[in-house]
Symmetry: D2
Subunit: 373 residues, 4 copies
């Protein structure tokens, strides 16, 4: 694993737990974790259960005792690491967004196609049991032809203007703001559940707070408070509407300024014969309508629901971390059987192209912009 | 009153009931109702409690025993009737949308300015106690600066392709489809609650079902089934995103194809210090967040909530019809005191201009289109 | 009508409105209202739409222009008025609880049986569309054999110890407290929906605040504050568990001390094949489960739902008052067709006997007490 | 650890994960797991991460490399194991209910008092962050004096009469049915949150399905289907009402026949100044009312909420398993610091005495029965 921050912690928990709940074809060994600071990486290794550490990801990739590389770093390093790992014959699981630009993502897709290893982009929300169930319902034809997708990912963690300028607010590190961080998830979820693509968009983006205090980590030593601010170079919020390949309409809203919404990753899908609704803040529930004035709140904890049978009895809900456990279970199965994992780097590129079209539209008077194929 | 269909029925109930609950400065008398068919209008008068009937609205306007004219007809006749009534010295309350075009609405605003009578456009959702309370909270500064408005009006009554071509699906009668019928409500509600204007939009519209069976009422006699279809000439759905005068972003979605949603007129407003959420399908509730991870579900039935004290004890909810009772109460008070009723025809025109910008944007590649002042 | 307070107002609104929405076999005329104070009764008549007033209910009963007597007074006068009215050949609709004692209720049942007029006790919650739909589902066998009823009626209007000693807190007027006022409703609703009887109970009751300030209305002139308190002689809360005639278990809780619950009249019914749940604070919704981990939230506003077709399009909810409109519509139909209205005085007596068993059990160490047949 | 079934799996996951999220004073080592079948215990050890196995719990207790014994067996063996382990100088964490009888529980409390080791009964629901937050609110006086507790634990896993006669339906193994299995949890939660005791109860219990097919595990070899049924010797459902030490009323309902409810462990607490509500089916939410007609839905995922800061950012919910992680974290801290863990065996005994009073009341015509001190 490369990276030991938020994503590193949650991936580690998944690697540590997956074998206790799923019958796996491969028994993962948590061999080595890489990070720049030796001290911090060693502390992380001890806490998270990794046997060894490296301070340079290139060294990690060279190791013979490593077959799978799990990339948990910010987006600006994804392409370099993933391509090198694939070329070294490793299997790669890479955090989303796949890359910070379409060009990088394309290079990654080419590398994945050329390499023997398997590759997957970690859109973990596909592994929320309720979202996997939604996909199943659409595949089974239960909602008919898709008319509308309404997706939003609402957070509020930077509402306070005094919240510091962390790396996620810097374009060179993060690529974009709410758009790439959380907008990517709802675009992927919409495409995953419907089985359709977003083919064009019209967009608005906004940065409400344009200057913020430097984070302690990035503030220069001895800088006075007045000097300690920096420009926010990414979007705080991105709104876009668009068309789906099947003729439906879609709306998306990704924002970090939705006061009171903590992680409201929501999607509603309206079809000609039924509809579905989901909100991650109640992640064990899927709402389904098939007529008669009603919406059924399905508690997605039944044995025949996706992933759920491996865990607890009905009604004993899962949490955020389990989406990663499911992701790794699926990845290990693909590696073992030689199947192509999903979502593939190509799926990640597809999302990246939607995000690029969003940025182009926003820069071009919201003009409707086709998503490249 | 002119018109006795759906809107006529609900307005009549409001006229009949308002005096029993509110201490009014004027006691309304339900003098006369006008409709084209004498027989049907007489039946309606008997059922709805009107003392007399006219079969020509021009005759109604001439009558000395009429001081207030309530226009409940489709949008194509609003301008003619309202202008004539105002010129005849009557007070006018007119159903929304104010008119089918901006030009008509402008003429109505001019007539209202020139006439002695009071005029109001019947955006009844302003009189949902929860929406009036939301407005109060914004005015009191409880949510701070507005960052986001997320509004949707979701219905599903024409999901079935066999649903007939009623007047609401014909451009010459209705002006537009979901846009003018229900989109108008959420634009008005957004502007009302925030106290801001929508200043520009980018839009997509769609007609999913382009041809429908003629309604019994409009089908030619003896036409065979195959001949009995007609073109749908309005939008089934309209999506638009835009900017508010205070710098916030807004998204709107009006559709009649949201399977399972019956009358989900929803609005969420996120500010710098708090937020609000409402869904008409639970019309007695307002959700409010002001920190700490929580959203408070306020049951808007307390004595100090808008309008509610006149009705029942706390927890005894109101229904759809009461929004009209409140509207008429406010209108009668304005007439009695000489105050200007709200929403005024100018407010109606303002909404109309937003709708026009939506249509222009949709016709022009979703390009961001400023709303005329 | 006799009585013009809270119940008088809501019944009047129902009499005034019913004809505009339902095709009635009889056109009601709001002839006369009775109250003790001439001045107040005249004001009420003017506001509520009654043509004439009486200050003695006995005079009202004598009038030839009165065929139906609607009793909206406190429970201590129900028996006298209802029996006199029935003996005078009138049809009678009587507010609940039917009487303050079983003996009175029995006398009323006998009078009803002997008289030509129709009689009904006004358990209005039976006419909530969602509750009527729940009854329909049980009758259709959709939930199978009843295992559990969980019913609660939660209010909080006397949580404040300074709330005054109104008539509802005095045993001589009200008969009992939460038990008869709101407990009666949930007992009736449980029996109505399930079609079964409560056959025995074990109960606890409590009066949390035993002394309260006298209400302005009842305080002696010139009494000092210290002298102006009186004993609360009824229960603040009543809890009871029991058995149903079909073998299921039931729990009931009626309280005026449920801080934050305003009118939470709730009932959950669990059967061998399905279940139902309702909360009056969201009165347009019924929840239904029939397997698969889900509960369907049915918005009870569809044309084929009970009573609803007469009102508005789907999704346009009803309020508290409409339960009374439906009650009067059903009563008028029964009067016109000669059918026996439901709930009958015998149904009211049945509820009274359950309440009596509750009081006996509470007085006898919560011992399980059979409900008399 | 002793036992590797459902509870063994979830406890193992907690032991395995706790160190990655909490800074612990002690680093637990998963030394050895005991079970009767060598083969099955070895498979469990491999899957769940235990280093060694024993097939006799007495051998496990003798081992020097064991300092803590975690008892995950059915209730009939709790007393023997816990007492032996305590006498052997081990720390003991024991699944609930503490024992199958009050006598056993008393012996365990005596053993705990006499032994040097620490002991805790595993009422894991105390470690749901929302329930811990509810306790905090009560302690802070936010809801005032307790008037009502309404608790229910609703499941439906044996609704089907063909569901087999597993050990939980046999009195000799399980002690009681819904009462001890899930009723124990709500009694403990009520006492924990309020800080009060249940001092007396009146109860009804029922066994709806009195005979069931034998489970494969317990069916005799060669028994025909007709012979393969057995008596259900425990309650399917237990309802009881009672009084709290502070003067409030409480109602409890524990059932396995609540069709459609999977793990609805619910508690509402109404005080003189506020109230709280919780439902485990939405375990990351706590509802709180403190006036004005509102109930606040608190998403219990904020950094300052109990336990939550150690996990993910706000809005990223926890699941069932994390209650056990918290339990073990608290237990390890108590062991390290020498503090007495909570809930203690004495707390477990207190719950046991309430359950015993429930059984006595149910057997004695629901008579109100005091809970022994």
């Amino acid at each position: 694993m490369i990276g030991y921050a938020f994503m590193g912690r949650v991936h580690s928990q998944a690697w540590r737990s997956v074998g206790a709940f799923f019958d796996l074809p491969l028994a993962p060994r948590m061999a080595v974790i890489a990070g720049r600071s030796k001290e911090q990486t060693e502390a992380a290794a001890a806490q998270l259960g990794w046997a060894d550490v490296e301070t340079d990801w290139r060294e990690l990739i060279k190791r013979d005792d490593v077959q799978i590389v799990d990339i948990c770093t910010p987006g600006d390093s994804h392409a370099d690491i993933a391509i090198a790992a694939l070329q070294a014959g490793k299997h790669v699981i890479c955090e989303k967004p796949l890359a910070n630009t379409v060009a990088e993502a394309e290079a990654m897709v080419r590398a994945a196609a050329a390499a023997p290893g398997k590759s997957m982009v970690a859109f973990n929300y596909r592994r929320v049991p309720a979202i996997a169930l939604a996909r199943r319902y659409v595949e089974e034809g239960r909602i008919g032809e898709i008319r509308h997708v309404r997706a939003a990912y609402l957070q509020d963690w930077i509402v306070d203007p005094e919240f510091p300028l962390v790396w996620r607010l810097q374009k060179d590190k993060a690529g974009s703001g709410a758009l790439g961080d959380i907008g990517a998830h709802i675009v992927d979820a919409a495409q995953f559940i419907t089985g359709e693509n977003v083919v064009g968009v019209s967009a608005l983006t906004e940065t409400f707070i344009k200057e913020r205090p430097l984070a302690a980590e990035s503030a220069g030593l001895g800088a006075s408070r007045a000097e300690s601010t920096g420009q926010v170079t990414v979007d705080d919020a991105a709104l876009f509407i668009g068309r789906l390949s099947g003729g439906g309409l879609a709306s998306f809203e990704a924002t970090r300024f939705a006061y009171g919404r903590k992680n409201a990753m929501r999607i509603e899908i309206f079809g000609s014969r039924g509809s579905l609704a989901f909100d991650f803040e109640a992640m064990n529930e899927l709402w389904f309508s098939s007529g008669g004035g009603g919406f059924e709140r399905i508690l997605v904890t039944e044995p025949d629901h996706p992933y759920v049978g491996a865990w607890w009895p009905p009604g004993h809900g899962l949490g955020y971390e389990h989406t990663f456990t499911h992701e790794i279970k699926d990845f290990l199965e693909a590696v073992a059987t030689g199947a192509d994992p999903s979502p593939s780097f190509a799926d990640g590129l597809r999302v990246q192209r939607v995000l690029e079209a969003v940025e182009q539209s926003a820069a071009d008077g919201s003009r409707y912009t086709n998503v490249e194929d």
